[in-house]
Subunit: 335 residues, 2 copies
């Protein structure tokens, strides 16, 4: 992991099979688990994904000088949370998607009740793994607290709730006080772009920029899990406060860049490339980065965030090469 | 709590307001939580319920000689899990109920997406509370592990999945190896009652009795949370292995008695009395205790289980009066 020419393929080849094997081993659920429920959980969890979040756990552990093995339970936990969130987000009452990772979504492959329960079962399994497989107890409990907070009403679930309403629900706007600092600096005083967005579902106000709102949603909906992935990886190898802060800085920027490139891909890609339906954001009149900033400025914003993310982990030296490679990959997948 | 003439009203009056205040305080979710999501979570969590599970946490702590205060976080956590499970069970894709605790179910009062997310947010909040508010870390992490296991695929979620299929999914039948010992002793060799059950959706087999199957479902669907409630209450006050085993014994029997009386109430009560739709089990051809055993034998079975539950906690002396009163209440509510 310390080679400066490390490619994303190297990382995926090195970590991917280990992650998949660990996920497979941890979902061999025995007594009491209905076969169909277990199959639905494994169908979604083990489907071909990029495993970005578990990679972040392991790369963060490596950046702090730790080994992969003690971080693997946390890597599995965050991928379980990610799989649960995709299953529930795809439900008919939510985003109503039928295609995910190139395959039928869980409720299409099984049924809606099974999909709800598969998500409901993956969620506590993540906590059970953290609680049982991380040592010492003080670290395990800190991991449980951090993951629970990242997944809860003030983060992932709240972000999804606001995203469902196209941004109009938006909870407590104070929620974005820590978010998108770079973006805010550039755009906070400039609300001119509001008029460029024909599908903006909120009433523009001098106090609330659409970009701030969108960043607040995504810092919670997708950013919180990305940040906590890095945090868990660092915590299990005993990182210090400075390392945790640097990784959080990296994660905040990477998470936002990831969402921007996801929005760009939704506009630019084909469904075969993405393995899920594309162009839905526009059809749903969803608040997106391209809708607010346009394609070019969105790309530029993502590029800047990735550059800042890489700078945030400069202090780790070559041990953070993997994190830098991953950040570059997030950017390049949309170019 | 040590008065032998303690009534259920005394317990409810003493503990109910404290539990409700603690739940209220822990759901004042701030930054980042959308208002509507918070309202949906609180609507379901704070609706007028019996609070049996948090009472079990507190009564178990008391039976082991502990105070209420250190057990309150765990009491809140189990009620949050209970509320989440009711919200999701009531969804159109699951039991499709419109009435709960005398009010519109969460997805009726709000909408389906909000109800899914309210459940999804209550679940991690329970773990966050355990992780942050229980000391020492070793106890907190043991509580997280125990609750996660009780809620997961091999217990609550698995039991609900099997219950959804009217018992025909049933997972791994080995799952009931620890279950319903008294019931099994009486009925395991006697499959004659299978023919008495016109709505039995499973193929009877000499190896699998319908009663065993039903007990396996309910030990997971409702019993696991009841048992873990007692376990958490005992763990936070430092109970020993013998106390934990006795409480588990009590919980296993109480949980099953609770489900039997719930089935009986579904047959006997009015909707006004129950605050939810009744008679649905029969309409749905669901496997129930009255369907298998008949009303009289079901009542007798519940009575015996409650008597055994009370005997299981005899060793605690008067400190377990509350647990005995609660067990009697569970029985009497259906008579």
């Amino acid at each position: 992991m310390q080679n400066a020419t490390l490619s994303i393929a190297d990382i995926a080849q090195s970590l991917g099979p280990q992650i998949d094997a660990a996920l497979d081993a941890r979902t061999q659920l025995g007594d009491g688990c209905p076969t169909r429920l277990r199959e639905a959980m494994r169908y979604s969890l083990l489907s071909p994904g990029k495993r970005i979040r578990p990679m972040l756990v392991l790369l963060a552990a490596g950046a702090c000088g730790g080994e992969i093995e003690p971080a693997m339970p946390a890597a599995c936990a965050v991928e379980m949370i990610h799989a649960y969130s995709l299953i529930h987000d795809d439900l008919p009452a939510m985003d109503d998607d039928d295609l995910r990772r190139g395959r039928a979504t869980c409720h299409k492959a099984f049924d809606e009740a099974t999909a709800i329960l598969a998500g409901d079962a993956l969620l506590p399994l993540a906590f059970e793994i953290l609680a049982r497989q991380i040592e010492p107890p003080a670290t395990a409990v800190a991991c449980c607290a951090a993951l629970a907070h990242a997944v809860g009403a003030c983060n992932m679930a709240g972000g999804q709730a606001d995203d469902m309403e196209g941004g109009s629900g938006r909870g407590d706007i104070k929620g974005d006080k820590e978010t998108g600092r770079q973006g805010d600096k550039e755009f906070a005083e400039d609300t001119s772009f509001l008029s460029l967005s024909p599908c903006l579902p909120v009433s523009p106000s001098p106090h609330i920029s659409a970009l701030r709102l969108l960043e607040s949603i995504h810092h919670r909906k997708t950013g919180a899990l990305i940040r906590v992935s890095l945090r868990l990886g660092a915590m299990v190898v005993g990182a210090n406060a400075e390392q945790l802060a640097a990784l959080d800085d990296y994660g905040r920027r990477l998470g936002l860049a990831f969402q921007i490139t996801d929005d760009l891909l939704d506009v630019r890609s084909t469904e075969v490339e993405m393995g899920k339906r594309v162009g839905k954001d526009a059809r749903r009149m969803k608040l997106t980065f391209p809708a607010i900033l346009g394609l070019d400025q969105s790309t530029q914003h993502a590029r800047q965030l990735v550059s800042e993310a890489c700078r945030a982990v400069a202090g780790f030296g070559p041990q953070a090469d993997g994190l830098r490679t991953l950040a570059q990959y997030v950017l390049e997948r949309s170019l």
